[in-house]
């Protein structure tokens, strides 16, 4: 009960912040919450199950294009486009996971990276359809949900918050379920899990598909809320970002993704406002974090203050 109460309190605080802070921060929060949803999906695979993927940009971009292309080419409204994006991420994860999960560890990382690079190149190659690197703007007619334009600050924030809240609560339910324990068991010792009758391949594929659906939903939401889809979202940067968010916030903690995404977003913004060498400053902070809290901020909290933190 305490865990649910804390999660609901965090959601309430985020909602209040989004509604009370000036418009600039409301837009920032919307972006952070969409990226946190992406990171939460990544966290299920990496933080809970130990699947170190470098290909999640592919799931994010698959969701983005599965939502944005029907909106651009055929004028689909936001709701079915969002569902198509979620399904796109899940299907991409199913197809690539079925092959990539035949490897493990570093090999899995390389194979997922290769798949993602191939997907990014395919987006550029079929630029007549995808808009290539330049991308395309989503028609405003497709950016309406329940009759409200998602281009305005507050509805956009509320949509991002709703997606994040749904993802967070589902994440919490998942990691506290029996299957959540299987995920941790696979991360801790796959051979032992197999000796208890668990099929590691099937379980990991299931996790990857869930993670892909989360990432796809985030990609679709990003396109619909910010009105743009482009090939850069399939680049390796978008595979590394969720990993950084999760490592910063705390891998294997449900709230780590949003904490990491928020901190990294504002850290990057602050650093770039004081120096052109902002990446150096961000890197320095990450080094300090790795030295003093290698399990991330909430990992540190879990180790020292609240052992039951999910």
């Amino acid at each position: 009960m305490r865990a649910w109460a804390v999660h609901l309190a965090v959601l309430a605080a985020l909602l209040a912040a989004g509604l009370l802070l000036p418009g600039y921060h409301t837009t920032n929060l919307a972006r952070i919450l969409v990226l946190a949803t992406f990171a939460a999906g990544y966290n299920l695979a990496f933080g809970y199950t130990g699947l170190l993927s470098l290909g999640h940009a592919m799931f994010f971009a698959a969701g983005m294009y599965a939502a944005a292309l029907p909106a651009w080419h055929w004028g689909w409204p936001a709701a079915p486009a969002l569902l198509a994006g979620t399904a796109g991420g899940a299907l991409m994860a199913l197809a690539t996971g079925a092959l990539a999960l035949r490897t493990a560890g570093v090999s899995f990382m390389i194979v997922t990276l290769m798949f993602a690079q191939a997907f990014a190149l395919a987006i550029l190659y079929f630029n007549g359809w995808t808009g290539g690197d330049e991308g395309f703007v989503i028609p405003s007619a497709s950016r309406h949900l329940f009759g409200t334009s998602l281009a305005a600050d507050t509805p956009r924030f509320l949509a991002a918050w709703s997606l994040f809240a749904l993802g967070l609560l589902l994440s919490l339910a998942l990691v506290r379920s029996r299957f959540g324990r299987v995920m941790v068991a696979l991360r801790e010792n796959e051979e032992r899990a197999r000796m208890l009758g668990i099929n590691p391949f099937a379980a990991k594929l299931k996790v990857l598909v869930i993670s892909g659906a989360w990432s796809g939903a985030a990609g679709a939401a990003y396109a619909l809320l910010f009105g743009y889809a482009g090939g850069s979202f399939a680049g390796i940067q978008y595979s590394i970002l969720p990993m950084l968010y999760v490592l910063l916030g705390g891998a294997g903690t449900t709230l780590g993704a949003v904490l990491g995404a928020g901190l990294m977003f504002y850290l990057t913004e602050f650093a770039s406002s004081v120096t052109s060498a902002w990446l150096f400053l961000v890197g320095l902070v990450l080094v300090v974090l790795v030295l003093f809290a290698p399990k991330g901020i909430l990992g540190w909290v879990r180790a020292r203050l609240w052992r039951e933190l999910p």
């Binding site: 324990r181 801790e188 032992r192 899990a193 197999r194 000796m195 208890l196």
Partner: protein, 231 residues
């Protein structure tokens, strides 16, 4: 119950087990002894399907299981507690048991039975496994395997590195399992423990079972212990 015939297995080009013949019967403790490198742990792994079998058969209740994928073997009634326990450290005792019984129905009843065998674990149900003492971890490793309701339980040096009071508790649990009709296969190096628990002892050397003796016919100074274990 469990019968190995001419079992040959190894790692890639390296053959470790060479034509092992071995049997474990219901309600008996069969100890496996041998020097380091004799193939005892590989034998456990081959039975469980982790190490590929290149020749021979593993029969459980008359059914050949050596070609099954490893994750299907526990469902047939085999459970293995490896050396070094290998618990899921961040999960609590209760969660470890839950994962252990995942493929079985009737989880609550099985858990109660298991906790009756190791009452100390009942006091630690909400404690992460990584924070248990060595003896408690070993109890949990055995308890988790028992959640599979095995017909045959393979234990790889379960008392290694434990204090005498914990060894006594684990020995007591093994003897209770035996009384309940479980076939226990125990890899053990300590002669005193073997003589207290075993019904039969299989002595391994160079990847095969060289001799099987009734435990009642053995004593601490028996020739087999000197020949196969070096004590």
């Amino acid at each position: 119950m469990l019968e190995l015939r001419g079992l040959t297995a190894g790692y890639g080009p390296v053959t470790v087990l060479r034509g092992v013949d071995f049997a474990a019967r219901a309600g008996e403790v069969t100890c496996v002894m041998g020097r380091n490198g004799a193939g005892k742990t590989t034998l456990m792994k081959a039975i469980m399907g982790i190490v590929p079998v290149s020749a021979g058969t593993v029969m459980l209740d008359g059914q050949a299981i050596q070609d099954l994928p490893a994750h299907l073997v526990p469902g047939k009634g085999l459970a293995w507690v490896p050396q070094g326990r290998r618990l899921f450290g961040p999960l609590t005792v209760a969660e470890n048991l839950d994962v252990g019984g995942l493929i079985r129905g009737n989880r609550a009843k099985v858990r109660d039975h298991v906790l009756a065998l190791f009452p100390r674990l009942r006091e630690r149900l909400n404690q992460p496994a990584a924070t248990l003492s060595g003896g408690e971890q070993q109890m949990l490793a055995i308890a988790r395997a028992l959640c599979l309701e095995p017909k045959v339980l393979l234990l790889d040096e379960p008392t290694e590195g434990l204090q005498p009071s914990m060894i006594a508790l684990i020995r007591e649990a093994v003897l209770r399992l035996k009384a309940e009709g479980v076939a226990v296969v125990l890899v053990e190096q300590r002669v005193e423990a073997v003589l207290r628990m075993a019904d039969r002892v299989a002595f391994m050397a160079h990847g095969s079972v060289e001799e099987v003796a009734e435990a009642a016919a053995l004593h601490p100074g028996a020739r087999q212990f000197a020949d196969f274990v070096g004590v």
